[in-house]
């Protein structure tokens, strides 16, 4: 979250804040922050009807800056990371009447000015932590199951976002000729490859400091072995460099709630701090 300006009076706690949400979690913070009867100023698009001299009514989309007084709670869409804020117009505008209803759609990198009559301590703390840069250091988790189900997730302090879900149908091993004896190995290879591609695509080692790989039985270990072989074969430098950031843990399944399980496990937390600490030590050296 980028803080553009802040004017809060110490006397009564009222004032305004000008922010730009940069990450998905910032939009979520704003959702928790905004309350009914707050005044929101944003740049938005509105359909404006203009009547021509002959009486024809033309409707054009006009970009304008509106100030609305919020009615009700905003609506948060997690998949697209947008907020819909609705309310009535309170500022004089050449295009919109006073008291007319309007709905803002706030997405990433949209500047918003929030004016409250009294800023709560909790709200201010939230803004402060959201603007704090070191929080962007995040954790990634991969959970996989022998059956061919896996999830790749990015974990921030407040949210777990599933970046990719891989589902492959892996046949059970059978010796019958009709079943196809090499089929299982082939499908397992396909599954590992799909998951590897998802890992490479979504995990950015600039921000991610630790990658947890979890699964029941030997699944995570086997996949990791395959990943290193593949990385060496394709000479994927970024992956090989950050080899020490990968931690193999045990999870109960490859479903998404297994991710919540592994991050709450105290033993795992110890391992995470260990990897972060060891990396910092390496930097010092």
């Amino acid at each position: 979250m980028k803080l553009l300006s802040r004017k809060i009076s110490a006397k009564d706690g009222g004032g305004e804040l000008h922010v730009v949400p940069e990450l998905n979690s910032d939009v979520w913070h704003l959702f928790n922050l905004l309350e009914s009867s707050d005044q929101i100023t944003m740049s938005t698009v509105r359909k404006v009807k203009s009547e021509g001299s002959t009486g024809t009514v033309r409707s054009t989309k006009q970009r304008l800056r509106l100030t609305i007084k919020m009615k009700g709670k905003p609506t948060y869409d997690a998949t697209t990371s947008t907020l819909r804020i609705s309310g009535t117009n309170v500022a004089e505008s050449s295009f919109v009447k006073m008291g007319a209803f309007h709905t803002f759609t706030l997405g990433l990198n949209d500047a918003i000015k929030i004016s409250k009559s009294c800023w709560d301590y909790v709200h201010l703390e939230r803004i402060k932590s959201a603007c704090d840069f070191s929080k962007s250091a995040s954790l990634a988790a991969v959970v996989l199951q022998q059956d061919g189900l896996a999830h790749v997730c990015l974990i921030t302090e407040h949210m777990t976002v599933t970046k990719a879900k891989v589902e492959t149908s892996i046949p059970k091993k059978r010796s019958d000729k009709a079943w196809g004896t090499r089929n299982q190995e082939k499908q397992v290879g396909k599954f590992y490859r799909k998951l590897y591609e998802a890992l490479v695509a979504h995990v950015d080692f600039k921000y991610v400091q630790c990658v947890l790989v979890g699964g029941p039985g030997f699944a995570p270990g086997d996949w990791m072995g395959w990943v290193w072989d593949e990385a060496r074969r394709c000479e994927n430098r970024s992956l090989l460099e950050h080899r020490d950031r990968f931690v193999t843990v045990r999870a109960s399944s490859g479903h998404k709630h297994a991710v919540d399980e592994i991050i709450n496990d105290p033993a795992v937390r110890g391992k995470i701090t260990e990897t972060k600490a060891s990396r910092d030590v390496a930097v010092l050296d």
């Binding site: 059978r174 009709a178 998404k256 709630h257």
Partner: protein, 406 residues
């Protein structure tokens, strides 16, 4: 002391079981006129399940089959996944054996096998020290998983009887099972040497329940436990739950909705290009002209006509649930497991009693919302497609019956 029923190794043992049902009709060259049995061999790690199955196959069929064929399994000498083998019993019944892994980490592979079987074979070793080790902890959990998955009849195979006293162990396990309300028989065997395997097989056959009716009028349902694509064919290993299917008919997979024509039916290594499968058959159905990429294990095979008239994929259901472990709070994310299907679900609303939670060791009704649509039926309509388990992590949290589909 309750009367423990256990088979004594007696050469003059004469089985008395009900007559078999004709379930699969084949061309005259291979007359098979007996009810098929599916058994699931499970138990603690290293008690001899895989060895027992290998010896059974050698004895019944004369062939040597390697069950742990995967690289990981051979290098670690531990079963990682369920192996399926088909053979014939001396009384000419098709026997499908599912050899399951014993490690706790592979319980996700074990549960589909438990749902699929008719008779469960619980292998426990009577070697000194091994029984006590397992009975204290993981062994009993294994048995409880079997019971909760719905295996009504269990045959306890007390293994390694050449190096231990099987009667004591057999009696203890059977007593435990009877307390839990399950019919059980115990039999002492030796997986390595092949002692007393005939009696084990006879006890299995005796315990296999008689199937009611031939299911001609009921609509066809088969649960798919594994899918393999070879060339243009989609091979699906399925267990027929009810109804009959003839080779040449058009079938569809629910919930994906893809359809194709049945070309062949394989029972073990034999392929039949004409014939009918009935309830209880554990076969591989080979289909052509079907988009195999959209078929997953856990889906249900139905007739194409059926799919057009009924809706099969649901995401919301009302279920009667019996909580086995800790209290379930409304909103917890659990895994719903039924017949090779495992899907993430959330307890959306609790309908009876305290609306916030389902208390431990009680029964209650609740609404479950699933992450993706699956094929389910109410318990009254179809028992096999209406009974499920709710897992919390790797532990069984509750047993449920589908009451209503929303």
């Amino acid at each position: 002391l309750r009367n423990a029923r256990y088979a004594v190794p007696n050469p003059s043992f004469t089985p008395t079981y009900a007559d078999n049902i004709k379930a699969i009709t084949l061309p005259p060259a291979n007359p098979v006129t007996s009810g098929p049995i599916t058994i699931c061999v499970s138990g603690h790690i290293d008690h001899g399940k895989t060895t027992l199955v290998q010896t059974m196959i050698k004895m019944l069929d004369g062939r040597k089959v390697v069950l742990d064929s995967g690289l990981a399994e051979q290098s670690r000498s531990c079963t990682t996944d369920v192996a399926v083998v088909t053979c014939k019993t001396p009384s000419d019944r098709t026997l499908t054996i599912l050899d399951t892994p014993g490690h706790e980490g592979y319980s996700l592979q074990l549960l589909p096998a438990l749902f699929e079987c008719d008779v469960g074979v619980f292998v426990v070793s009577c070697k000194r020290g091994e029984f006590e080790d397992c009975w204290g902890g993981a062994g009993r959990t294994h048995l409880l998983s079997m019971i909760r998955a719905g295996v009504a009849r269990i045959v306890v195979a007390v293994n390694k009887c050449d190096v231990g006293e099987w009667e004591v162990v057999g009696r203890r396990v059977v007593e435990f099972l009877e307390k839990e309300g399950v019919q059980a028989t115990a039999c002492g065997v030796s997986g390595l040497n092949g002692d007393n395997l005939q009696n084990l097989i006879k006890s299995i056959e005796q315990n296999c329940g008689v199937r009611k009716g031939k299911g001609n009028k009921k609509s066809f349902r088969a649960t798919i436990s594994s899918v393999s694509l070879t060339g243009r064919r989609v091979n699906m290993q399925c267990k027929v739950v009810r109804g009959n299917l003839t080779v040449g008919e058009t079938v569809s997979v629910a919930p994906a909705g893809v359809c194709g024509t049945v070309k062949e039916v394989h029972v073990g290594d034999e392929a039949f290009s004409a014939g009918t499968v009935g309830p209880g058959d554990n076969v591989t159905i080979s289909v052509v002209n079907m988009d195999g990429e959209r078929v997953f294990s856990g889906d249900v095979l139905v007739r194409s006509g059926d799919l057009r008239t009924n809706v099969f994929s649901r995401r919301r259901l009302v279920a009667k649930v019996e909580v086995k472990g800790k209290t379930l709070i409304k909103g917890t994310e659990l895994t719903l497991v039924m017949n090779a299907l495992s899907v993430s679900c959330v307890v959306a609303h609790v309908l009876d009693g305290d609306k916030r939670m389902l208390r431990s060791e009680t029964r209650g009704r609740c609404t479950l919302v699933l992450k993706r649509p699956v094929c389910l039926e109410t318990y009254e309509a179809c028992k096999k497609l209406g009974r499920f388990l709710l897992l919390d992590g790797a532990r069984i949290a509750a047993v449920g019956l589908v009451e209503e589909l929303l």
